[in-house]
């Protein structure tokens, strides 16, 4: 019988590895590659990870990890420094606050929550960019990024399945 549930969850396994995966995946999708004349989409790979971190358990390191990912996205994409950190922390806080409601929910409901978290992140990005640049971003482009991100929910589901029961204190 496995006694892994009684052991403390190593931060490197559930925070470090996904963070590195997000960094690599985002960088690969930022390469100037074209396939049949079309460039790659630009989904928010960070959002499934941020969502899963908030669902798995409250943590002191996770918000710092979210901020690191956000600053990395700003430096890579050239957006104002701090924009994506704030845009990712807001859905993290929302999901963390609603953990009790999310417990035991089916995949479809979880996906709906993921869509809401994505909408919050992009909505915040829209608002902050509009205030900063004094110019409204194109809603269609925001919509495309929303669609490209919500299809990534299976990755969040996989991460939740892997680590949700790993720490018995937060079941």
């Amino acid at each position: 019988m496995s006694n892994s549930g009684a052991q403390p969850l190593s931060p490197w396994r559930w925070l470090g590895v996904p963070l590195v995966q997000v960094v690599v995946a985002t960088f690969v999708f930022a390469l100037p590659l074209r396939f049949w004349g079309f460039s790659l989409p630009e989904p928010l790979f960070a959002l499934p990870v941020v969502f899963a971190w908030a669902v798995i358990r409250p943590s002191m390191l996770a918000p710092v990890g979210v901020m690191i990912i956000g600053v990395y996205l700003d430096l890579l994409w050239g957006s104002p420094l701090g924009l994506w950190a704030v845009c990712l922390l807001l859905p993290y806080g929302l999901v963390l606050g609603g953990r009790a409601m999310l417990a035991g929910q089916g995949r479809l409901i979880m996906w709906a929550w993921f869509c809401a978290a994505t909408a919050l992140a992009l909505g915040a990005g829209y608002l902050f960019t509009m205030l900063d640049a004094q110019n409204a971003p194109d809603p269609i482009s925001v919509g495309w990024q929303f669609l490209a991100t919500i299809v990534l929910y299976p990755f969040a589901d996989l991460l939740i399945d892997l680590f949700e029961d790993a720490d018995v204190r937060f079941r």
Binding site: F27, L31, P32, L75, G78, L81, T129, A136
Partner: protein
């Protein structure tokens, strides 16, 4: 015993609260970072050390990672060229026939143009030196559209330099360090470019919004633009040289005038960075900011005191014309 009853469950509340406090602290820190960041510093040399360092690290990594994709694309193009050589040859022959006629027209026009310039005594713009670079990363999201090019300060590139592909204007340099430059695309939500409609000479500001087709704002004049009009840089403000091709004007779905960018005709993998100096680069901004300007004294005249004028000789005053200190403005046409 259920998991809820285990003694470790007591640890849940303090850790949850601590995690919540850390979350709030990190959120406040991020908001502070966001508020302290100013996108207008892109216009100066003050690009910021974090961005400079990250660009320096990301550019070679992006260059290395994009190499397989680039080589594959070149191979596919080679194979395609081999299989479509006959049709391509036919098309090129037709193009060449048309271009030969245009060449004769161009030679005649150049000759006429040179004679007009000589007759009017116009001073032409000096040729603008250029630096070539390859794009190594590309962000296409709704909130930021920028690219990293693998040439930097060692090539003489400075913030503000216009960036062109083989088809048209791509954007301008907003940050430079050794070996890498960040290019703000025309489609970026923070991009503003003074442009003109080629047909009517009407001015407008090309405003990016994160979508593929930036908007034409502040259009002046009656019926200043029509579908299919060519849009060029106006050179107003001195940021861009005049006449760089930008794209074609089209009416958008939102009933606003937009521009289909000329640079979108093909993938932007290689770019030319024009080492064009705008007014803000020519002026030493840092030096100007250090100069202490004395506060105006209330009631004092803001004009310099007039120089004492010597009384003209009585005999000569009636016949000698006063020579102006600066040449008077004439109606001579200025160079466009």
């Amino acid at each position: 015993m259920s998991y809820r009853d285990n003694p470790l469950g007591e640890l849940r509340v303090p850790l949850t609260w601590t995690a919540g406090i850390v979350f709030i602290v990190v959120l406040i820190t991020s908001v502070a970072v966001l508020l302290s960041d100013r996108r207008e510093v892109f216009d100066t040399d003050d690009y910021g050390r974090p961005r400079t360092l990250s660009d320096k690290v990301m550019a070679p990594v992006g260059d290395a990672l994009s190499t397989p994709g680039r080589l594959t694309g070149q191979s596919v193009d080679g194979v395609r060229g081999y299989f479509f050589a006959v049709s391509e040859n036919r098309r090129l022959r037709a193009d060449l026939k048309e271009m030969q006629q245009w060449r004769d027209v161009a030679i005649a026009l150049r000759d006429t143009n040179e004679r007009y310039r000589a007759a009017l005594g116009l001073k032409t713009d000096p040729p603008i030196p250029m630096a070539s670079a390859r794009i190594v990363t590309d962000s296409r999201g709704p909130f930021a559209n920028s690219r990293l090019a693998n040439a930097g300060s060692e090539a003489g590139i400075k913030p503000g330099n216009p960036v062109m592909s083989e088809n048209g204007l791509v954007g301008r340099v907003v940050g430079v360090t050794e070996g890498v430059s960040r290019v703000l695309l025309l489609t970026d939500v923070a991009s503003r470019t003074p442009v003109m409609i080629d047909r009517t000479n009407s001015r407008a500001i090309l405003t990016g919004d994160g979508g593929p087709n930036p908007k034409l704002e502040y259009l002046r004049g009656q019926d200043p633009v029509r579908n299919g009009d060519r849009v060029l840089t106006s050179g107003d403000g001195g940021v861009f040289p005049r006449g760089l091709p930008v794209g074609i004007a089209v009416k958008g779905l939102d009933n606003r005038w937009r521009v289909v960018l000329a640079s979108d005709k093909a993938a932007v993998d290689f770019v030319r960075i024009l080492l064009f100096q705008d007014f803000t680069q020519v002026a030493n901004r840092a030096g100007l900011e250090k100069i202490e300007v004395p506060l105006p004294t209330p009631g004092a005249s803001t004009l310099p005191p007039l120089a004492p004028v010597a009384p003209p000789p009585a005999a000569a005053s009636a016949t000698t014309a006063v020579k102006p200190s600066r040449p008077a403005q004439t109606g001579a046409p200025r160079e466009q």
